[in-house]
């Protein structure tokens, strides 16, 4: 029962399903996406040899809310209590990017044409990056479900993949949102339950301690990496502005009255080149860190929460089981409703054992997945950083060579 490590590789655009280790009977990907005014439309493409589908290959269009509906249906399904439910993808959020583009449009009059074009390109690239990321996140979710030996058989999942009409999953109304809120409150109150009770089983005791601490540390690391990246982006923006200023300062007109006119023109061209290069250098590094580190940490923040939720469900089942035991003892003592109590106790016992068994495997797989994902991303981060540092070095050295040689 091991599912493929494909899922984190999709954090790169369009690198999908390459490493899927399970069979090819079900392959899911997002083949296309369209960003409209306030929503994103994902084209979910399925290839399958499973008999339950009408065709071997088909596509449907889904929106974010439908993904959430699917995720929630897993969470609410008692049968899946013993599995780590793949975390729901975050809502597509283009607000910040859109705001920046709007501000740029408003400020068009106050900057030079070159500045405007450059900033527009930067913002459009940023928008595109966010877009790609949200596509990847939604795709990862579907991949994880498709790779899970039990979840992939879920009926709702098949409906999601195949039913080519709108699922009419309107957003939660107020009542439902309130219910969710209370559900979460209860969960966190019970979270104490998870932490407080020492487990008889060493494995789960260890996992509990580990997960609680790990989750918090990942949360902290994720927040700090975001902060770091924001600073890096601010510095990159400054360098953009510096490049623009130097571009203007480097116009031949600024050098016009020099008696060394020709060499000044060459120098001014070099200056501009150097600074445009510099700007690319700084912007690139920020993007790499973002992809590799921050996304990885964010993803594992959600996964570790899902794992915690599993432990919580198991604890709840344990509590129910213990309560059922007590009820049975009481019933036997009073010699009343014994059969009912016995049945109830057996059910609870069965549920608890089932959850424990699958939870154990899930948690082992979680570790395997986690280690593999971190390894992959850390290696890729280091390789990318090296590639860019070497590229930058070359670029800088050639700039220097020409500048110095021109004295």
């Amino acid at each position: 029962m091991h599912y493929g490590m494909c899922c984190l590789c999709v954090l790169q655009p369009r690198a999908v399903n390459v490493d899927l280790q399970t069979d090819a009977t079900l392959q899911v990907d997002i083949s296309d996406a369209l960003s409209e005014r306030d929503k994103v439309k994902f084209t979910v493409h399925t290839k399958s040899t499973l008999p339950n589908f009408k065709q071997n290959e088909f596509s449907v269009v889904r929106q974010h809310e439908e993904f959430i509906w699917l995720h929630d249906s897993f969470v609410e399904n008692e049968d899946y209590a013993g599995y780590i439910i793949p975390p729901a993808p975050p809502r597509p959020d283009f607000d910040a990017s859109r705001e920046k583009l709007q501000k740029l449009g408003e400020g068009e009059g106050s900057m030079t044409k070159e500045e405007f074009t450059k900033m527009k390109q930067e913002l459009e690239a940023e928008y595109l990056a966010i877009f790609k990321k949200t596509v990847a996140m939604h795709e990862v979710f579907l991949c994880r479900v498709a790779a899970h030996p039990v979840l992939r058989k879920d009926l709702n999942f098949h409906v999601f993949l195949e039913y080519n009409q709108d699922l009419s999953v309107r957003g939660k109304n107020k009542k439902e949102k309130l219910e969710d809120f209370f559900k979460n409150v209860v969960k966190s109150a019970d979270g104490v339950l998870v932490a407080g009770v020492k487990d008889v089983d060493d494995f789960f005791e260890h996992e509990k301690t580990f997960l609680l601490e790990y989750h918090n540390r990942v949360k902290d690391a994720s927040a700090k990496s975001d902060k770091m990246i924001r600073s890096h982006k601010s510095a990159a923006d400054d360098i953009n502005r510096i490049a623009s200023s130097l571009y203007t300062l480097g116009t031949p007109a600024m050098f016009k009255f020099e008696f060394e006119f020709t060499s000044s023109v060459v120098e001014s061209g070099l200056l501009r080149f150097c600074f445009i290069a510099l700007q690319k250098i700084e912007a690139r590094v920020a993007a790499d860190e973002d992809l590799k580190l921050a996304d990885l940490l964010k993803y594992y923040l959600r996964e570790s929460q899902a794992a915690k939720d599993l432990l919580y469900r198991r604890s709840r089942a344990l509590v129910d089981y213990e309560n059922a035991n007590k009820a049975l003892d009481k019933a036997r003592a009073k010699n009343r409703d014994v059969l009912q109590a016995e049945t109830s106790q057996q059910l609870c016992c069965h549920k608890f054992e089932k959850i424990s068994e699958s939870a154990k495997q899930e948690l082992i797989d979680f570790k395997t997945r986690r280690v593999a994902a971190f390894r992959k991303n850390l290696v890729e981060l280091a390789e990318l950083e090296l590639k860019h540092a070497k590229g930058n070095l070359q670029l800088l050295q050639s700039c220097l060579g020409v500048l110095k040689g021109n004295t």
């Binding site: 400054d238 502005r241 050098f255 200056l271 971190f374 090296l386 800088l396």
Partner: protein, 479 residues
């Protein structure tokens, strides 16, 4: 108050020693600048102030073409060719100096005294082979007010004849107070280093000027172990001086100086410096923002490093745990790189840009002086005209004494007019030379700084390569 004095002051009414009450009022304009340092003594005999008043208020308005009745200045057009094509070497040869070979360093800041009377003493070391100096290597001790004193002497001697005198570094109340009070923290150390560096750049710029280098005040500043305390020095920073000049200019509203810019060079150059000023200020602001963000980035990287280390600690897979700790170490080293880079950004770039923004203000001031010189000349001419008309009228009256007096006055004024024309031609010629020199230095300076900056970036990239190359095998070792 003094700023609303009548627009055109007849030149001969002001002597360099007048201490009229109206001059006190000029001080009240900028109390912060004048009384900032407790150790600075303010005297009413300031050369700047007299300089200011003797030349009349300076108009800050672009010249426009005058009606033809105004006598137009004639500039020797032979100068055009000479100065647009002469090289720096030619100019140097003209002045008979040996090739520039000098290095000044400002070092060893030392706190002298205690409390609010304390000050920093800096060691100024000159190394040179130039003949104008008696020795090849020598040091003196100087304090900040000595530098200001030197600048004010040079400004009073050379600004109004068109030389671009490099402005002295800015005063800072906050910075100095911290040092005096004895706060030995990072920010006061940074302040002292910033100041030391600024003083060094100031001196180097000053001595690179072929005329200023030979000035006895400069030589005395560099060589003499006993420098008279700048007691009679106005505690005016160059910014303060220019602020006062501009205030006077603002008060002289609607005064248009009509100059015949048949010499398009000056008009173009003035516009050029306006543009340059705007661009440099913008650039300076961006670089300051970059320095700030890089410092922030350094702090955030350090915090992330700690967080990654904690994450590594809590990870129960041994190899991954180790890799995460290594990542934390790499990020810590990168944090240090960011800090070093921020310092480079600051010292190489930001400070240089600040220097140039102040220098351009000095350049604009010099153009203003040219206009004032022109105005003075025009005023003399107009007065001469009036006196001639008056004399003509006197011819028909029987007042031989008055007639003789008028004739004498006319003779004197003719001399003044000629002098005015000579002054104007001289300042124009000087400015052309100065601007050429300035522009050449500017390009050279920027190029040097950019090369240094790129070199610092090269170093950063090389370090990054080292760190990530060390980390990669650790990441690969995770299994």
């Amino acid at each position: 108050d003094a700023c609303s004095e009548p627009a055109s002051l007849p030149a001969e009414d002001i002597s360099t020693n007048s201490n009229g009450p109206k001059q006190d009022l000029l001080f009240d304009e900028d109390p912060e600048d004048l009384f900032a340092e407790a150790t600075e003594e303010v005297s009413l005999d300031s050369p700047e102030r007299d300089l200011l008043l003797s030349d009349g208020p300076s108009p800050a308005i672009t010249p426009i073409t005058p009606p033809t009745s105004v006598i137009t200045p004639c500039i020797g057009h032979a100068h055009d060719d000479m100065f647009t094509h002469s090289s720096f070497d030619e100019i140097e040869e003209e002045e008979g100096g040996d090739l520039f070979d000098m290095n000044i360093s400002v070092s060893d800041p030392e706190k002298v005294g205690d409390g609010m009377n304390a000050y920093m003493a800096y060691k100024v070391t000159t190394k040179t082979s130039m003949s104008v100096f008696k020795r090849t290597e020598f040091s003196v001790k100087r304090r900040f007010s000595d530098f200001l004193g030197l600048h004010s002497k040079l400004a009073s001697k050379y600004l109004h004849v068109g030389y671009i005198v490099p402005p002295a570094p800015e005063k800072s109340i906050v910075g100095m107070t911290k040092v005096k009070v004895g706060k030995e923290d990072q920010s006061s150390n940074e302040f002292v280093e910033k100041r030391r560096s600024a003083l060094e750049r100031y001196l180097m710029r000053t001595v690179k000027h072929p005329v200023l280098l030979k000035d006895p005040d400069v030589l005395q500043f560099l060589e003499s172990s006993d420098l008279p305390r700048a007691v009679s020095t106005q505690a005016l920073s160059s910014a303060g001086l220019l602020r006062m000049v501009n205030k006077a200019a603002d008060a002289v509203n609607k005064m248009t100086i009509k100059m015949n810019e048949s010499d398009a060079w000056f008009e173009e150059k003035q516009q050029h410096f306006e543009n340059l000023d705007v661009q440099l200020r913008k650039l300076h602001a961006s670089v300051e923002s970059l320095v700030c963000h890089r410092k922030e980035l350094s702090v955030n990287t350090a915090q992330f490093a700690k967080s990654a280390a904690m994450l590594g600690n809590s990870e129960d897979h041994t190899a991954l745990s180790r890799a995460l700790s290594q990542l934390a170490e790499v990020e810590e080293k990168i944090d240090q790189l960011h800090q070093d880079q921020a310092n480079a950004d600051f010292y190489l770039f930001s400070e240089l840009l600040g220097d140039y923004v102040r220098l351009i203000t000095a350049v604009k001031g010099v153009f203003d002086h040219r206009m004032k010189t022109w105005q003075k000349w025009q005023d003399s001419q107009m007065l001469l005209q009036k006196k001639r008309e008056a004399e003509a009228k006197l011819q028909f009256t029987n007042k031989p004494d008055k007639l003789q007096q008028a004739k004498d006055e006319i003779k004197e004024l003719e001399g003044k007019v000629q002098q005015g024309e000579r002054d104007f031609e001289q300042i124009s010629k000087t400015i052309r030379k100065e601007v050429s020199r300035f522009e050449k230095d500017r390009v050279k300076d920027f190029k040097t700084i950019i090369i240094k900056y790129l070199e610092s970036l090269v170093q950063t990239q090389q370090q990054l390569i080292k760190y990530w190359e060390a980390f990669l095998p650790e990441a690969k070792a995770i299994s």
